[in-house]
Symmetry: none
Subunit: 221 residues, 2 copies
DNA sequence: TGGCCGCTGTCAGCTTCCTGTCAGCTTCGC
DNA sequence: GCGAAGCTGACAGGAAGCTGACAGCGGCCA
């Protein structure tokens, strides 16, 4: 799952990026507002972690611009401790959640999970399709109640596909979400990965749309 | 049911008191450590909600003094965000459970209920998984009723993992919670520690999620 | 003071598992 | 039926995690 991290303090950015990576996300870090706005508008992230105090264009403006542009990406706002005005503005500007600095990494992670989950329209912290269930907290996938051991990459791939259940996801998108940095384009790594996941959870759960990508079908009965 | 609330921030105290009252508890609110110690020692509460950052006598000392005096009142500790040292010490001082600030009221209520329920069973250990039980008040771990001698670090590691039972905890998070200050990042101390704990309590009780972290699984039968 | 003991971090070597690549095959769309 | 796209099994290199040994440190007791 790909996350855009917008934070100008390099120390905090590094810490957060490390924690997010450790939690299994693919993190892209950006330090100024203009760049953030561009990326958020042109690329696709599962969520954005946005610091408000930024050089270039400030965080709030960036957020407002995204929202004006129709983006519904879940945004978790970080802001200086106790800054109520900012908080109110943040929420008004369309932030999905708000975390005052300084914060505990776990709290960031848990709020981020919540924000992503809500955005996915899932009330429970569980993605379910037919017999297949994915629990992001435990990073555990079960098929008919039986745990399916997945490698980190396999897990990320499946999580992303299930997250976007019912949508066709291109190989390129998958590549961007599963890997940290850009990958060889002419590799068939994604195909291999899909194959491996299919072997573990059942081939019919990931459909191929030749020429377009893959999808996890919506209704499965 | 009577609850002693020890919290010096009047806003938080008011919020918590309101929520507790609404949940049907009788709340007594105290803002400084001396007073808290005195009340906790001389009166009878179903549980105590204790903030650690206090004027007068700090929360940790209060807790330690209660415990030294033989009190077994269930104590739920609130710890400031980002204060790892406090959290670590809280685990060591005999808190029944702890909750990082800021927190959701529902979570406070649910943890408080749990703490009270367990205390009602008298000496019932707090965290249980299959044959393994961890009693934070005594800092004691038992396996099939037999005490397992754990070193301080081993205990902290296990306590934290059990506290977050069912969730994957990254090595980074573990490092932050087990050690008071930052640690060498490229050390394999956590791995070694996990290995030592596993040897004592059984390897299957701590699962590895390669590339993500460790977890104590939820249902264990 | 000196020796013993338990705790803990480091290290090296080992094992296990992951994962990208490749070659050859199958399937699909036209 | 052809070519492109996708699938699959094998494989090798490497990363992540595990483990036993060891040494430094501090506490404790004689």
């Amino acid at each position: 799952m790909r996350i855009l991290l917008v934070e100008d303090d390099p120390r905090i950015a590094a810490d957060v990026a490390r924690a997010l990576t450790a939690a299994g996300y693919v993190v892209e870090s950006v330090a100024d507002g203009e760049e953030a706005w561009f990326r958020g508008d042109t690329e696709d992230y599962a969520a954005i972690v946005l610091d408000l105090g930024l050089p270039g264009m400030d965080g709030l403006s960036v957020l407002k611009r995204w929202r004006r542009g129709g983006s519904a990406i879940p945004v978790l706002v970080l802001s200086a401790r106790g800054n109520w005005a900012e908080r109110v503005e943040g929420i008004d500007a369309g932030a999905d959640d708000y975390l005052p600095k300084p914060f505990r990494m776990e709290e960031l992670l848990s709020r981020l999970r919540a924000v992503i989950r809500r955005a996915g329209g899932h009330a429970a912290p569980l993605f379910e399709i037919g017999d297949l269930a994915l629990d992001p907290r435990q990073m555990k996938v079960t098929l008919r109640g039986v745990a399916v051991p997945l490698s980190p990459l396999e897990y990320r791939l499946l999580a992303y596909l299930m997250h976007r259940q019912g949508e066709v996801v291109s190989q390129l998108e998958l590549t961007e979400h599963v890997y940290v940095q850009d990958h060889e384009r002419d590799s068939n790594a994604i195909e291999v990965l899909v194959g491996r996941v299919r072997r573990k959870i059942g081939a019919e759960l990931i459909e191929t749309r030749r020429g377009f990508g893959y999808l996890v079908p919506r209704a499965e009965e």
